[in-house]
């Protein structure tokens, strides 16, 4: 048999078996992760920097187990990895719209509230949200706001407003801070505040409104230094950036850094008058997790006021746990940008997930924005 025929024979057999294998979506996954599943490990898929090392240590002692963490810096990244078949996580901490997606996908285990006596600690304002009525699947963990952070000294010198999104969208203000502004590198977040600034709801799906928002962004883009999800924190703390569109806990960190390194300026942050995005992050149980017992222990542990407060004290995230209030630092409690009062609360909106057509369209708008 000559080699040529041999090769074509193999190829044909191959293609046939390939085509035949398609309809079968076997449930058995060939599990190849190296770590043995018998060990006492709880797998947590969490945001970067979203749990204090002290908390982790104490939990590991408390449950006599190991907490293994994997990180994401964006809900989309987390969802993409899960859709791509990433399995093995017991606990995930998605934001509201991602919780909705996961519920609809059937990827979560419903929670047995009987195992979570401390559930009553949660502030009712954060319960029963549109993405999980009755909190069948999720327990609020922490929340952050997406808002503006400023280098107080320079902004005051330039006489710029600190209570509106206009400062990053209007050329009259942007001219003075050209190259010193960054915005989040997130399709949803940036579109949300652009829509909000124009007076539309953040979950608006009207294509005409999207076009207007796109034009707004395109007009402002030449003045922005970069789209940044994480590096803006350091640059703000060091004084390279003067205005950032970012997450409240990141800006809190920047403010802390600036103070600790003795910078001659303060970092301040505000909820703009047009409104802001509220990201409520909740703990959910993934259906592929193998240690629900440890997972419940973790949730109950985090529902305890003291443990919950640790994260807030560390990173300045909002806390939906009423029992945590007494353990949180006074200056954080009084910060309206972290713990919004009732009036500001009405100006906050949560993002909801889009369907696939909207996602595709948004993807195209985003590409257009990015292409210079």
């Amino acid at each position: 048999m000559n080699p040529r025929r041999f090769i074509s024979a193999i190829a044909v057999i191959f293609l046939q078996s390939l085509v035949l294998s398609f309809p079968s979506q076997a449930d058995q996954k060939i599990n190849t992760t190296v770590v043995a599943k018998e060990k006492n490990v709880l797998y947590l898929f969490n945001w970067n920097n979203y749990i204090s090392a002290d908390t982790v240590e104490r939990f590991e002692q408390y449950c006599n187990c190991e907490l293994s963490q994997d990180y994401y810096s964006d809900n989309e990244e987390m969802l993409a990895k899960l859709v791509a078949g990433a399995t093995g996580y017991d606990i995930i901490v998605p934001t509201g719209n991602a919780v909705e997606t996961l519920i609809r996908q059937g990827a979560l285990k419903p929670l047995d509230k009987k195992l979570l006596p401390s559930f009553k600690n949660i502030d009712p304002r954060y319960l029963n949200s549109s993405f999980d009525p009755g909190n069948k699947y999720s327990i609020p963990y922490a929340y952050t706001l997406t808002l503006l952070g400023f280098n107080q000294k320079i902004i005051q010198e330039l006489n710029l407003p600190t209570d509106t999104w206009a400062i990053i969208f209007e050329p009259q203000y942007l001219e003075k801070i050209k190259g010193r502004v960054t915005v989040l590198d997130s399709q949803r977040e940036l579109m949300a505040i652009a829509l909000r600034y124009l007076g539309y709801p953040v979950n608006d799906t009207d294509e005409k409104h999207w076009k207007k928002a796109q034009e707004l962004i395109a007009r402002a883009k030449p003045y922005w230094a970069a789209f940044s999800n994480t590096s803006y924190v350091k640059e703000l703390a060091v004084g390279n950036l003067w205005v950032v569109h970012g997450y409240s806990n990141d800006i809190f960190q920047a403010a802390l850094d600036a103070k600790n390194t003795g910078r001659k300026f303060n970092i301040i942050y505000r909820i703009p008058k047009e409104g802001a995005v509220l990201s409520l992050d909740s703990i959910v149980l993934h259906k592929d997790g193998s240690r629900p017992d440890l997972a419940y222990q973790f949730i109950e542990f985090m529902l305890d006021g003291k443990n919950s407060a640790e994260l807030t004290n560390l990173i300045g995230s909002g806390n939906p746990n009423t029992h945590a209030i007494q353990s949180i630092r006074k200056d954080i409690i009084e910060n309206k940008a972290i713990f919004p009062d009732q009036e500001s609360f009405t100006r906050l909106e949560m993002l909801r997930d889009f369907n696939r057509n909207q996602r595709r369209l948004l993807g195209r708008i985003w590409t257009e924005i990015k292409l210079r």
Partner: protein, 301 residues
Amino acid sequence: MIKEKNIVRWLLSGVPLLFLLLFFIAPSLIIVFTSFRFPGEFGGLAPLIAPMGTVDVEHGLTLEAYQFFFSDTLYVRVFIKSLQVAVVTTLICLIMSYPLALLIARSKERLRNIMLLLVVLPFASNFLIRIYAWVIILDPESALSYFINLILNLVGISPVIFLFSPFAVLLGMVYVHLPFMILPLYINLEKHDPILLDAAQDLGASHWKCFWYITWPLSISGVSSGIVLVFISALGMFAVPDILGGTGDILIGNLIKDQFISTRDWPFGAVLSIMLALTILLIIGLGAYFLRRLRKRNYAT
């Protein structure tokens, strides 16, 4: 040729062949197949056959993803932009690499080995580090930025921020690809017979003429290997614009990555990948065609 038993032949070529069929050809076919499917409601792919008991679930094959690609000139423009960046990167690499490769090729044997080692060493350091190094250098607070801006200030130009700009991306691209160009060039130049150049010089040719009429034509195959390596790699690159470009730039590599990591639109990601592969094949094909014509012309003269 040695006569061997057939079984040896089969094993020798068959085993690696099977491996590549499985892990290279099959995945490529999957990409083609994926480009004809609907994206899943939550990301990924919609099923091929409607699952039992559900109503109105998208399934089956479609040209929708391709239509989306061609529905707007946007994506072609991204391709063109990426091509531009790749071309510029390749040219700069060629111009920078040629003198060095020439230098190494003409040096004494022992010096040559050390010089080669020195070229390969940065290449052997981690890819991300080579990019990261420029993040440090171009940082607005770094010594270099400070120094250059000082000079610009004297001339009256306002300070320039180098990081997160097209300049930074180009710099990073060139830096990462230099060894890809130097090595194939060197391998070719090393084989050149110095007698040719001696003869030319004896006949009174200047250095430039020696280069242009003798060295350059002989080095074409090395040049083309280098160009191919750099160009293809540069076209699909996403890490450099991602880290150095401030993500305000979108090249085809970033776009493809986004489809799988952010937008969760696999069919469209597959379409983009296929378009990239076709572009590369087209360019290699054109390149090979021109190369053959060039060779014919060289032999004719």
